[in-house]
Amino acid sequence: MDIFVQQIINGLVLGSIYALVALGYTMVYGIMGLINFAHGEVVMIGAMVALFVIKALPGLPAFISVPIALAAAAGVCMAVGFAIERIAYRPLRRAPKLAPLITAIGISIILQNLAMLVWGRNYHAFPPIFPVSEHDVLGATITSLQIVIIVTAALMMAGLTLLVQRTRLGRAMRATSENPPIAQLMGVNINQIISATFVIGSALAAVAGLMVSANYSIAHYYMGFMLGLKAFTAAVLGGIGNLAGAMLGGILLGIIESLGAGYIGDLTGGFLGSHYQDIFAFFVLIGVLIFRPSGLIGERVAERA
């Protein structure tokens, strides 16, 4: 019980981040049936831009530099997301699914290596601008930063839900993901909606990127890959195409991973150590796809002959 609460807290932080990234995957999949493999790199770009903006403004206190960094990161990420969709996915909308998947891999590689060219191979340390204040919760510690992350993520998720449920844009998005041709007949501009989906997802990715690098104090050009893969797992876990599912899946995966990493030594009698942390996500993914492919709260889709 000693580390249980601590791991739960860590899991909530990690899970909040996964949730934000998972939303991007699930929205794109819901609307286009496509796994946006490059989404993880967009998170990475958000992290890098934010980090360097903050580094470029050394004198300013956190509550000023962070929003500026966030705005810059979001701007860049939204532009990147928009460009990816326009240049690489739109022309392939009717092609067999293999083509956009390979293209996505190609874009992922391009973004990673552009990042390497621009920012170098090194790991970059996040400037220590956040006050280190810890609080005691049930015998474990939680930092102010972690609280901010969890709260911000929750607010963003609530905002997105409002957007999708209550606004005209949100209605159009839902219609497009249900039935694109009919939505078009109802006057929805599919191209615009798809672009908007990518842009919104990318904005969330930027925020997530900043959170990751702030929480772990580093950023580097390869950080997007694993994170993206795990966030995708979270989306599948919750039920791909389903916003609530992405949020639930994200939080759940974060907690599973944290608890797993914490207890794996005990569970396997010392045989497996915590550097096996990454495989939890993969086992969850394989397990979900085999036993409950529609995810926890996804719809069951039966194929009609």
């Binding site: 067999p96 190609g106 893969l229 045989f271 990454d278 993969f282 086992f283 796809l289 492919p293």
Partner: protein, 368 residues
Amino acid sequence: MMTLTLDTLKQDKRAAIAATVGVGVLLAVFPFIVGSTLGNSWLRILDFALLYIMLALGLNIVVGFAGLLDMGYIAFYAVGAYLYALLASPHFGLHVPVWVILPAGALLAGMAGALLGAPTLRLRGDYLAIVTLGFGEIVRIFMNNLNAPVNITNGPQGISSIDPIHMGGITLAKPLSVAGFTLPSLHAYYYLFLALALLIIFVSIRLEDSRIGRAWVAIREDEIAAKACGINTRNIKLLAFTMGASFGGVAGGLFAGFQGFVSPESFNLMESVMVLCMVVLGGMGNIPGVILGGVMLTVLPEFFRHSAGPVQQAIFGKILLDPEALRMLLFGLALVAVMLYRPAGLWPSTIRRREFNGEAGNAVKGGK
């Protein structure tokens, strides 16, 4: 412009024989040409190209024929390589002969393929891709960490001093004397790899035009209709997957013996992606296309690596951009470009080209 396919060669017998003889002679003397003009490092690259061609052909059965998207194929390569390393090196002090290890590698990799495939092959295309990707990563992570508490794989440092390929006293690590003629080691490996690659090519060609080959295409086109024709789609898919895996295992064993050293780094996601691209970019389902893809993606990056630095030096007086990053960047751009303009690959099989250009597969609409 006439598309050169095996079909056109089959029709004109004399042209076919002339072409075969010509290619045969070229292949036989090729290592000597490369060795004397470009040097030993390029001969090594040629040998690696043959290994990759074997891998690409193995994956072609999975992706090109059966249409199953495997993004973690390199895991089977890793299984074969590590098995060889564990059974023929100072690590455990075992020195099992090659003719035992290679089939054992094929078997073990095939079993791994069956284990992975059994629960997952019914998944939709892109999900299967991610699951296989995950599997590839799991294998790599295990290889990287199975060094404590019991040291099995020696972790990130890998296993070195692996026995070179040898049989009955003849070892390929040293020059061989063949009929009064000395054959350097790299040349000997070339001929061995060439022979095995030709074998895999032969098997692929035979499979393509067979009951099983037709069943694979049928499953790709319309799985439900295929089932209605009595095709046990689960087993047939598993067959493709397992075969592809076992070819990967054999190639892995050869790799370990050739390079003398294996480490988890050699079996990362980028490698899986590379082999996949050899199949997809070269031409899915088309054997010459896949070979072309294998050659291109082994040779071009090396060529680039050798020249990127010097070219930048010559133009700018210094190295502006990290050549490695530049190389990968160009690769990514090439991937996107090929998918946008030639999604079936540079040299696809006719049926694949149709799939990508016409209505995609299912639900035949009444034609004109």
